[in-house]
Every structure is written in structure tokens, then in C-alpha cells.
């Protein structure tokens, strides 16, 4: 039992470390768009993200239940023997998470966690220990569907936001006001992040407590101290992660307009919150990325850079099996060497973490390795600086061109008629002068009275 307690303590420490890296990694995801549009000062954004992550962690426990009471079939495993497997799974998750973060590869903390747990269980326990129905319906499928869902919603919302505020008279459209709105929507994203991501760690710790017999398996709700510990750790990680944003100041971010950012954040928050309520363990990074791509496409004159999309998608697809492989390797060490395997795992984990940390200190932090995947996905959409006109704008332009052409034709006709009239007038005048001159030549008396010439314009006709 003592060994079990030690392993539980190790699992809790490692899980909280994972929670910290999760918050550290994801601050940028929640706050990338409001910083890009200038809705919030970077320092304020980081503080807001940390506070709301803390609050969000207390809102719901559905995702935590999915992990602690859904993925693993408790009746198929030996509880105490399963504790080292959870430990191995966490090592897989943290290693992969830190490696991708350092290399600047698109990844997801959540998928790294699931991959690590599943890989370790497959090797350390058995295939039957995993409920593939739950894994498919609550982890794999949401992972594949959620970014598309968020993208489609963000696309539609961006169209709606632009259509409702569009003006055709070139007067101010008030779209700047979406910057105010972004303060609220980005706060909602941070809150949603807390409801989904903090709970994953709660789920893992609760699972370990159940396995060690320290919590009743029938009640999968996380204990209050677990909720507090996870909430504060993710908030601390989020706050500490902010220095990267402040240092990089969002360099490399795409051209995100306030209306677009507002729609993307609304879509991200709505998708994550709705999923959290149903217990779907999503990757907030992927949902936020999907929203940024969708909202970019919602702007006029945008095209997709498929190569960037492909790179991001491959990174996403790779996360689950790759972290699974690392988790499986860690579990294999436990299976082969028992207690020594756990020690080797622990030493390896510390060594990897220290090595990666040292490496990250050595490297200059810049946009290529420190900015979020969300920023990366913004680059997947190319938006023209001068977008083509909408259908109504085209109709207005056509109407303007028609009126202009009509006006020009009318002016031309008037000019022609005037010239003709002037020429006729000049000719008549000349003829009249000639006549007068001819009539006045024979006599020397006063000039003859003017002759009423046919065709000459009369005074009252003018």
C-alpha cells in the first residue's frame, strides 16, 4: 500500500506538472486573437486568461468524469497494478507535449494526454481494459469533428458579423466596436479552456485515487482539493506562459480584423462550452485553430493555403499515436522491470524535461518556435488587402456606371445641339448682315429699317 501511495503522489505531481505545461502552452491560444487586433494589452490579456482559467475549472466536471470513469474499464484491470501505467501514460504525454512545443510543431496537450494513457494501457494492461466506444465517441471523433465544426460556425458567424455591419455609403461602419466585444469573447474562450483542459488533469488524478482505493469508484466526481489544485496550477501555468506572448508580442500573427476575431472567439467558446457540457474532451488548440481558419475564409477575397493546412493537420493526426508510442514505451519499462521500471521512467522523465528546458533556454524565443498554433493556422488563409465587392456593391457600382454613362451621353447630346444651334445662329446673323449691307449701298440716307428675315430667331423665342 505504501508503494501505491508513493506512486499516487508521483502521479499527482506529474499530472499537476502536465496541467502547468498545458496552461503555459495554451495562453497564447486563448489570447492570440485579442492581442492581434489590439483589443487587449498583452499583459492584461495574460492576467485575464489566468483568472478565467481558474474560474472555468470550477464550472463543470463532465470531461473529468469521461477520463476517470469512461475510457478505462475498471473491471478489466488490477487497480494497484494500473497505477504505474497511469504514471507511464503521463510521462508519454509530457514528453511529447514538451518536444512539440520546443520544435514548434502543431500539437495538442489533450491528445498527448489521451495518447499517452491509451498507449500505456494497451502495453501495460490489455486491449480489453480500454472502452473503445468511449475513446471513439468522446475523444477521437470529437477531435476530428470539433475543429471542422468550429471552423464552419466561425465562417458563418464572420459572414453574419460583416453583413450586419456593412454600409454602402462609405460612412463609418462601427466595426471597430468589435474590439470591445473581443474582451468578452476572449474571456469566454479562457473560461471554456478552464472548463475543458483543467478537467483532464482532474480526471487523471481522480482515476489514480480510485485505482489506489483512496476514492470510491462509484463516485467519479473529482474531490474538492483536486479541483482547487488543478484550477490553481493551470491558472499559474497560464500566467507564467504569458511572458512568451509579451516577448514575442504576437509577431507572425496574421491580419485578424476585430469582426473576424470576435466571430472566431464566439465560435471557439461556444463549441468548447457545449462540448464540455456533454463530456467531450476536446483539444482547445485545435478548436481555436479551426475557428481562426474558418473566420479567415469568412472574409471576402480569402483563399486557403493548403500546404499550411496540411502541415497543421498532419501535426494533429500525429499527436495521438506519437504520444501513445512514448506512453507505451514507458509502460513497457514498467512491465519488464516492475518497480525499477517506474524508477527508470521517473529518471527518464526528469532528464527529458530538464534537457528540453535547457534547450529552450539556449534558443532565442521568437515567432517561429514560441507563438501558438492558432497564430500558425491564421497563416493558412490568405486574405486580399482590397477584397472584391459584394453582390449588392457590384449592383450599386453597375448602377453608378449606368447613370454616369447616361449623364455623359446627355451632356454630349446637349453640347452637340448647342453647337448646331450656335452655328445656325451665326449663319443667320451673317445672312442678315449681308442683306442689310446690300440694302444700304445704293442710297446715302439713313439706314433702312431691319428686315424681318425668315428663319431668324425672334426675341421672345429666346
Amino acid at each position: 500500500m505504501e508503494t501505491a501511495v508513493i506512486i499516487v503522489l508521483l502521479v499527482i505531481a506529474l499530472a499537476l506538472f502536465f496541467d502547468f505545461t498545458n496552461g503555459f502552452h495554451d495562453t497564447a491560444n486563448a489570447m492570440a486573437t485579442p492581442i492581434a487586433t489590439g483589443a487587449l494589452k498583452p499583459k492584461v490579456a495574460v492576467l485575464l486568461a489566468a483568472s478565467l482559467n481558474l474560474v472555468g475549472a470550477f464550472l463543470s466536471t463532465e470531461v473529468s468524469k469521461t477520463i476517470s470513469h469512461g475510457i478505462i474499464q475498471e473491471d478489466q484491470i488490477e487497480p494497484l497494478a494500473f497505477l504505474p501505467i497511469i504514471f507511464a501514460g503521463l510521462i508519454g504525454a509530457i514528453t511529447w507535449n514538451m518536444l512539440t512545443w520546443l520544435l514548434g510543431l502543431p500539437s495538442s496537450s489533450s491528445h498527448a494526454l489521451f495518447g499517452g494513457l491509451i498507449g500505456a494501457t494497451l502495453v501495460g494492461a490489455s486491449v480489453t481494459a480500454i472502452d473503445f466506444g468511449v475513446v471513439l465517441s468522446k475523444v477521437v471523433l470529437p477531435a476530428l469533428i470539433a475543429p471542422f465544426t468550429a471552423g464552419v460556425i466561425a465562417f458563418l458567424l464572420t459572414r453574419l458579423a460583416y453583413a450586419m455591419t456593412r454600409r454602402y455609403d462609405n460612412k463609418p461602419d462601427g466595426r471597430d466596436g468589435f474590439r470591445w466585444g473581443q474582451i468578452f469573447t476572449s474571456s469566454l474562450v479562457a473560461l471554456a479552456h478552464g472548463t475543458n483542459d483543467a478537467q483532464k488533469t482532474m480526471g487523471v488524478i481522480t482515476l489514480a485515487l480510485i485505482m489506489a482505493g483512496l476514492q470510491d469508484g462509484a463516485h467519479a466526481d473529482p474531490q474538492l482539493w483536486v479541483i482547487f489544485a488543478c484550477a490553481f496550477t493551470i491558472a499559474l501555468g497560464t500566467y507564467m506562459g504569458g511572458w512568451r506572448i509579451i516577448r514575442t508580442l504576437g509577431k507572425g500573427l496574421t491580419d485578424v480584423k476585430p469582426a473576424q476575431g470576435f466571430s472566431a472567439e464566439s465560435s471557439t467558446a461556444a463549441t468548447i462550452l457545449a462540448s464540455s457540457a456533454l463530456g467531450f474532451a476536446l483539444s482547445t488548440t485545435q478548436v481555436a485553430s479551426g475557428s481562426v481558419i474558418g473566420s479567415g475564409l469568412g472574409r471576402r477575397g480569402s483563399t486557403v493555403r493548403w500546404r499550411t493546412v496540411g502541415r497543421i493537420a498532419i501535426g494533429w493526426l500525429l499527436t495521438l499515436p506519437a504520444s501513445g508510442a512514448v506512453g507505451a514505451f514507458a509502460a513497457l519499462l514498467v512491465v519488464l522491470f516492475g518497480g525499477w521500471g517506474i524508477a527508470i521512467d521517473a529518471v527518464l522523465a526528469v532528464a527529458i524535461i530538464l534537457a528540453l528546458f535547457w534547450r529552450s533556454r539556449r534558443n532565442q524565443v521568437d515567432s517561429s518556435n514560441a507563438m501558438s498554433e492558432v497564430a500558425d493556422s491564421g497563416l493558412a488563409v490568405k486574405v486580399k488587402r482590397n477584397p472584391p465587392p459584394t453582390r449588392r456593391q457590384r449592383a450599386i457600382l453597375r448602377e453608378q456606371a449606368r447613370r454616369k454613362a447616361e449623364q455623359e451621353a446627355r451632356e454630349k447630346a446637349e453640347r452637340k445641339a448647342k453647337a448646331k444651334a450656335d452655328a445656325r445662329q451665326a449663319a443667320d446673323d451673317k445672312r442678315a448682315r449681308d442683306k442689310v449691307r446690300a440694302a444700304g449701298k445704293p442710297g446715302t440716307g439713313p439706314a433702312a429699317p431691319p428686315v424681318d428675315l425668315p428663319g431668324a430667331p425672334k426675341g421672345d423665342e429666346k
Binding site: 492581442i35 492581434a36 487586433t37 489590439g38 487587449l40 494589452k41 498583452p42 492584461v44 464550472l59 463543470s60 480489453t128 473503445f132 466506444g133 471513439l136 465517441s137 471523433l141 470529437p142 469533428i145 464552419v152 460556425i153 458567424l157 453574419l160 458579423a161 450586419m164 455591419t165 460612412k171 463609418p172 461602419d173 462601427g174 471597430d176 466596436g177 474590439r179 470591445w180 466585444g181 468578452f184 469573447t185 469566454l188 473560461l191 472548463t195 508580442l249 504576437g250 509577431k251 500573427l253 496574421t254 491580419d255 485578424v256 476585430p258 469582426a259 470576435f262 466571430s263 464566439s266 465560435s267 461556444a270 463549441t271 462550452l273 457545449a274 464540455s276 457540457a277 456533454l278 467531450f280
Partner: protein
């Protein structure tokens, strides 16, 4: 191995997220539209002009403020009409906030 997938749940998430997002964006956009109608087109310069801000420069922000003031002066609406538009704008923002709060309460107490 019994693999059962609740496809309806995915549709629920999509429907709920789309509906919630539409309500929030529509009311907020309507509020902005009404503010513009009331002659108070919001000109919100970025909180800080960091390197990330590629959408607007300080000069452009000043120009936008001038254009908004000019448009407000030339508005053909009467004072009464402007007041109605302003009330409608605040009502829209309030409804938007109410929708968000309602959604959150539904998540917290719905389960």
C-alpha cells in the same frame, strides 16, 4: 467489443454552438449598427500598438475618429430618432450579455 457512438450528441454540440454563436454575434452586430445610426460610431483604437497589430495604424485610427465625427454631424436623423437608436443599441448589447450568461448558467446548473 461493443462500440456505440452517440452521433446525436455531435449534432447537439453543433446546433447548440451555432445557435449560441449566432445569437451573440447577431445581437452584438445589431448593437453596433444601432450605435452608428445613433451617430456614435465607435472608434476603438488598439489598446497598444504592438508588432502584432497589422490591421490599423495610429494615423488610420485618428482618421477614422474624424470620419466618424463628421458622419455624426451630417446625420439626417432627428434627435428623437437618434435616441431610439441608442436605446436599441444598448438593448442589443444587454441581450447579447444575457445570452452568454444564460448559456453559462445552463452549463453550470443544467447537469
Amino acid at each position: 467489443m461493443n462500440v456505440s457512438i452517440d452521433w446525436l450528441a455531435f449534432l447537439q454540440v453543433f446546433g447548440a454552438a451555432l445557435a449560441a454563436g449566432t445569437v451573440v454575434v447577431a445581437f452584438y452586430a445589431l448593437g453596433l449598427r444601432m450605435l452608428v445610426r445613433a451617430g456614435r460610431a465607435p472608434v476603438v483604437a488598439p489598446a497598444e500598438f504592438t508588432d502584432a497589430i497589422t490591421v490599423i495604424t495610429e494615423k488610420e485610427a485618428r482618421r477614422a475618429a474624424k470620419a466618424a465625427a463628421k458622419a455624426a454631424r451630417k446625420s439626417p436623423l432627428t434627435d428623437g430618432q437618434k435616441r431610439v437608436a441608442l436605446v436599441a443599441a444598448y438593448a442589443s448589447f444587454f441581450l447579447c450579455g444575457l445570452a452568454v450568461l444564460g448559456g453559462l448558467l445552463l452549463i453550470i446548473f443544467g447537469h
